[in-house]
């Protein structure tokens, strides 16, 4: 009786020590989950998710306040990546998010710009150059296509131009399915 109790107690102590040691020794200094979510989001900072940018949305997802289907620029692939990261089931994109638009950049029509700087203040990534009463210009390589500069413009001189595929950015299409799979159609 005594032996059994001692044995069990001894084992418990031993395993407790092992567990305690490994908790210290093998502690994972992982990214906080919000950072990992933020890394997946496309960083357009467009606010279409209803939050003030990608980071706030990431924090909202991490704390369980927001669904993972509210990022239109990221589209389906981002939603699936989030689902994988968080171990959630993929869900259909939000109605607004579902209509995936081609990736675009903003373009300011020179002749119409009045140099009001409103768009410069709206741009979340500082991709618009200019000063008061001076012509503004979008730095295309920095523009995320978030469209946040469109509403403030008093003369509607900002247009979204879809990014054209060039030979440098072209991707091979997914190979055509085998003939036998086509045959049923």
């Amino acid at each position: 009786m005594i032996t059994a109790i001692l044995t069990i107690a001894g084992l418990a102590t031993l395993f407790g020590l092992v567990l305690g040691y490994s908790a210290i020794r093998f502690r994972v200094e992982g990214d906080p989950i919000a950072d990992q979510i933020d890394a997946i989001l496309p960083q357009t900072q467009c606010g279409q998710c209803g939050f003030g940018g990608c980071r706030p949305y990431a924090e909202a997802i991490a704390s369980g306040e927001a669904e993972i289907n509210r990022c239109p620029p990221g589209g389906e692939s981002t939603m699936i990546a989030l689902a994988e990261l968080l171990g959630r089931d993929p869900i259909a994109l939000d109605d607004e998010a579902a209509a995936e638009k081609p990736k675009s950049v903003a373009y300011i029509v020179d002749a119409e710009c009045i140099g009001c700087t409103l768009c410069i203040q709206a741009c979340p990534v500082d991709a618009i150059m200019g000063a008061a009463k001076q012509l503004h210009a979008v730095i295309a390589s920095e523009c995320t296509g978030c469209e946040l500069c469109l509403p403030p413009c008093p003369v509607e001189c900002i247009h979204m131009h879809p990014i054209e595929t060039t030979p440098q950015t072209w991707r091979w299409p997914y190979p055509a399915p085998p003939a036998r799979e086509v045959a049923n159609g």
Partner: protein, 523 residues
């Protein structure tokens, strides 16, 4: 040269019908000047070249029309004299069939040379850096098809010591004979170029790897070497086995070393150059000429008089076909490159560029349309022939499932796209297409990631800036307020003190008066 060199071997490979005889029996022919020359700004790996001419400018033959935009880039020179008629998007030879930025040149027919830099005949007494600069100026890129800037490739400073310059004359793909003819006709140039390159990279000796189906070319090289008296150059004939002309495969064959999976040939002390590139180096250094043309093979059952042509860059592919007697039979596909690695041109007017080694117009019997695809039966034949020793079948499953992490676990980027796996596949699965799909998808994802990282950084910087400005504004406000308060305090204090002092004085007076009156009353 006396005893045959002991050759190593590489895994897999294919014995293919080489179809060299159709085009390698006639000398290299010249082409008449076409009506337009269209020079794509991206003819090389690396940054797109930047135009240095404007529409309407008159240029001379050999004049630079676009400069290298970065270290890994190459300038472009006018292949003849004429007028720049346009700078804009035009069809280019690319599997996408998309247009790209090009400089269009209207030849004036005079073919007038620009003032060229002086030949460097005493290259042995010249700094290697200066020779590299000449190669860079000349816009020389790998002419075997990869089009990597040669000046970058031969800059081996900071790397392991190079002991071997390996000249790739294998030309292993069927049908292509441009290097074969070049070796037969310009062996002396090649030997000159070898001397220069060997000096630049500091290699003690040079091996020329050539497939044994080109005995005439090998003989021409040997006699040129004998004439030059350079006994550090050795011509090594390797068995005809596709893809022995793959850089890594040839290095393995000739030296027995395997270039590390993510490394450069320099890691095993080798620099590898295509034989046509070597000739171009001789041209640039010894004659001061930039790279403005190349030898192109026009061949296949659909071509009347197959052969090789010296083609100025920018010449439409159709002009080369015309010079080769035009098409015979039904109008079929036109492939740029060989049957194993080339791609179908979407437009016969696309220009020949630095990477264009062969125009293949096959008859239907030669290259029938691909047979119907069936499901993979996992026979493993693909792995048996893979010269990179990959598991093509696993790559296929992962690429098909679009699992881009897994596909890289199976070393997708070690695939050289030689096509051996797809050739032997009994299910006729377009394996290479799957790999290319996966590669371009992964690159696109990387670009997206870079872009979103940039956006994140910029956004964070902006947020930080706004906070800082806000903080600064607040700090300034507070300072002002403080200063104001301090001022009021400072202004008020003397008054208060004066008032207090006055009040004290009044109180004292009062007390004194009261005391006096009391005393007087009591008296």
């Amino acid at each position: 040269m006396a005893e045959p060199r002991e050759l190593s071997h590489f895994h897999g490979g294919l014995h293919l019908d080489d179809h060299k005889d159709e085009s390698n029996t006639t000398p290299i022919r010249d082409l008449p000047l076409p009506a337009h020359l269209v020079l794509p700004l991206q003819q090389h790996i690396g940054h797109v070249a930047e135009p240095v001419v404007a529409v309407g400018d008159k240029v001379n033959k050999g004049q630079m029309v676009a400069r290298a935009a970065d270290y890994v880039s190459a300038p472009i020179h006018a292949p003849t004299s004429g007028t720049v008629s346009a700078i804009g998007r035009r069809p280019v030879p690319h599997p996408s069939g998309l247009d790209d930025l090009c400089i269009t040149l209207e030849p004036d027919g005079e073919d007038r040379w620009d003032t060229l830099p002086a030949p460097i005949t005493d290259w042995r007494d010249t700094e290697p850096a200066e020779l590299r600069e000449r190669i860079r100026w000349a816009g020389i890129v790998g002419l075997g098809g990869a089009a990597f800037p040669t000046a970058v490739k031969v800059n081996t400073s900071g790397q392991r010591r190079i002991d071997t310059l390996l000249v790739n004359a294998a030309e292993c793909e069927p049908y292509i004979t441009c290097d074969d003819r070049l070796m037969r006709e310009q062996a002396a140039d090649i030997v000159d170029g070898i001397g220069i390159l060997r000096y630049i990279v500091g290699a003690a000796h040079c091996l020329i790897g050539i497939e044994d189906n080109k005995p005439e070319a090998a003989a021409a090289l040997r006699s040129a070497i004998a004439t030059a008296g350079d006994d550090a150059i050795e011509v090594v004939e390797v068995p005809t086995l596709y893809p022995s002309g793959g850089e890594r495969q040839l290095i393995k064959l000739l030296t027995g070393h395997e270039v590390p999976s993510h490394g450069l040939p320099a890691a095993v002390g080798v620099v590898c150059q295509n034989v046509a590139t070597v000739a171009a180096v001789a041209d640039a250094v010894l004659r001061g000429r930039p790279l403005i043309d190349r030898v192109v093979t026009a061949t296949g059952g659909g071509i009347a008089q197959p052969g090789n042509f010296r083609v100025r860059f920018g010449t439409p592919a159709a002009s080369v076909i015309d010079a080769a007697g035009g098409r015979t039979g039904a109008y079929g596909r036109l492939i740029l490159g060989g049957p194993m690695m080339g791609f179908t041109l979407h437009d016969e007017q696309v220009p020949i560029t630095k990477a264009g080694n062969c125009l293949l117009a096959p008859s239907d019997e030669e290259l029938p349309p691909p047979p119907a695809q069936r499901p993979c039966i996992r026979c493993g034949e693909c792995a048996r022939v893979c010269p990179a020793q990959l598991l093509p079948q696993q790559l296929y499953w992962q690429a098909r499932a679009q699992d881009f992490d897994k596909v890289q676990d199976y070393h997708l980027f070690d695939c050289i796209e030689c096509g051996c796996c797809a050739f032997v596949c009994p299910a006729h699965i377009p394996l290479v297409h799957y790999y290319r799909f996966a590669k371009t998808e992964i690159w696109a994802q990387e670009r997206e990631r870079d872009k979103s990282d940039l956006a994140r950084r910029r956004h964070e910087a902006r947020v930080a800036r706004i906070e800082r400005l806000e903080a600064e504004r607040k700090a300034r406000l507070r300072q002002k307020k403080d200063a104001l308060e301090k001022n009021t305090a400072a202004d008020a204090d003397p008054k208060k003190a004066a008032i207090a002092a006055a009040m004290q004085r009044v109180a004292a007076k009062k007390a004194a008066q009261e005391a006096a009156s009391e005393t007087s009353d009591s008296e």
